[in-house]
Amino acid sequence: MLSLALTLLGLLLVTFIIGRVMPIDPVLKVVGDRASQAQYEAAYQAMGLDKPLVVQFFGYIGDVLTGNFGRSISTGQLVIDDIRHVFPATLELATLGTLIGVSIGVPLGVIAAARRGGIIDQVARVVALVGYSMPIFWLGLMGLLVFYGILGWVGGPGRQGIIFDGMVPSVTGLILVDSLIAGDWAAFRDAFSHIILPASLLGYFSLAYISRMTRSFMLEQLGAEYITTARVKGLSEGAVIWRHAFRNISIPLVTVIALSFGSLLEGSVLTEIIFSWPGLGQYITKSLLAGDMSAVLGGTIVVGVCFIALNLLSDLLYRVLDPRSK
């Protein structure tokens, strides 16, 4: 718990320093470059920039803890409100992507290891290699071209079709969940048809990583002596693999999945841009290009907090899964 607090403090320190050393004058951004020296000084003091750095830092911590990340100069909104808006879009996409990646990647990796050198192993190898090496923007564009442009199976860019925009009351910000809460099946189908392509794409990339890691964890376990014991008992190969080996790989696998989920939560900028997905990655990138530091730092802190939370979660799962950690 202490280490988590320290990590968070470190994160805040880094974002604070970045915010101060960036060659962007926050005062000029507010008053504009035609302001008089007096106006500039007044704003400088109003923003508290005349105080010692330490005082500023503690003020900053207080602000962050109360959810005050300042105002975005490009949207004119409070950064926290912007993030409240874009983060669920990324969360929804990342969660579905990870679900796809895990539900296919884990069994694929297990089977590839169990039938090492067999056809499934070779296929899994090629699938993962393509997943690693294919640029996502190209795959995304091709996906849109084929499944949206030619076949018309999926919805196009964006989270919803235009007629559904704003039709479902926002409760969680996750449109799939909100439309279910509202009982609006048409909206759910529409949102699903929009998310499925980018989520599959992200899922494919996490599948590539997860299946390779699963395979190598599994091979390591299958060579272990307790597996021979299980075979000596007369257990079927399925029981040997799933009941004995898989329980052991589920421990390191938790970390792999958490990291992969975390990297998707960061916002996959390219995917979000190609699919016009109004998510965190796109928000941070746009703000960065506009020199909108409060927005960038606010987004960075949210991503950092997500990583810390995921680490905490995987540590807790470790304790549940591994009797040796007690």
Partner: protein
């Protein structure tokens, strides 16, 4: 003499490698009755591989061939996985070297023993649990209830190996292969574990194949000893007449053991000869072992 429990002739385990075929076991033959048979040899002599071949645990690219491999007159050579699984555990079982690695670290000890028992005996969970408790008591585990709920890492090496023995004997197999069962244990608990193993094996009238590199241990513990070298049996001896060994390898092994009653300044080094690799076995032949001829 009754029919042997296990009869093996000309057993070979071959691995296809890039440099051609490598034979880990080259024509091993023996009969096992309700006795304690020691298999002694150095690392790579093929003794463990022989045990694994009997259990059908040699995995591709390894290949097992034999003129005969019979369990109570019934061939178990290259049986289908499904049929072999019914023999493994229930009729032939194995205890491995180090309980630290041979027990599943994330399953409770109780679950692991119950699994081994129920797989072959079936029955209700409560009955299997009782059997597991009985088995733990039989290997002199003091608090079986507590141990049932514990995980392997909470056990000492000696306890781990007794648990392993309890687990492997729970479905009442006829043959137990013990592959270096005491090599990973402290010397102080070694005898204790061996005595437990010995008692259980004798009480149940089982056949035991005791694989070891420790000639002294095998001589004390077994009825008969096979000496293996480079994938072959070079000599078969009765444990009582070990000192009458005629094969130079066995003699060399015996001479290189330090003796308290006849201390020497420098133990002799065992010089190996290429001719041992392919020379025939000496000592009691298989035929004299089984009157009536085979």
């Amino acid at each position: 003499m009754t029919d042997p429990l296990l009869s093996v002739r000309n057993l070979r385990v071959t691995f296809a490698t890039r440099q051609g075929e490598f034979q880990a076991v080259r024509g091993v033959g023996f009969d096992l009755g309700r006795e304690r048979l020691g298999v002694v040899g150095e690392s790579g002599s093929g003794k463990s591989m022989t045990g694994r071949a009997i259990l059908g645990l040699v995995r591709p690219p390894g290949r097992v061939t034999a003129d005969r491999m019979e369990l109570e007159g019934q061939s178990i050579l290259n049986l289908s996985e499904r049929k072999m699984r019914r023999i493994r555990g229930s009729r032939i079982s194995m205890v491995m070297q180090d309980p630290k690695f041979s027990l599943n670290p994330v399953m409770t000890i109780g679950d692991q023993i119950i699994e081994a028992y129920r797989l072959h005996a079936g029955g209700a969970k409560g009955q299997a649990r009782q059997k597991a408790l009985d088995m733990l008591a039989a290997v002199q585990i003091r608090e079986p209830e507590r141990v049932m709920a514990a995980y392997p890492h909470e056990m000492s090496g000696g306890m781990g190996q007794r648990i392993m023995i309890a687990m492997m004997l729970a479905p009442d197999p006829e043959i137990l292969i013990a592959d270096e069962p005491t090599s990973a244990l402290d010397v102080s608990v070694r005898t204790e574990v061996l005595n437990i193993l010995d008692r259980l094996v004798r009480d149940r009238g089982m056949g035991l194949i005791f694989i070891s590199h420790d000639l002294n241990l095998v001589a004390q513990f077994c009825d008969r000893v096979l000496i293996m070298y480079a994938g072959r049996i070079v000599e078969t001896l009765s444990a009582r007449t070990l000192h009458e060994a005629r094969h130079p390898y066995t003699q060399g092994l015996l001479n290189s053991l330090p003796r308290l009653d006849a201390p020497v300044d420098r133990l002799p080094v065992l010089p190996r000869q290429d001719s041992w690799r392919d020379g025939g076995p000496v000592g009691e032949s298989l035929e004299t072992d089984l009157p009536g001829g085979l």
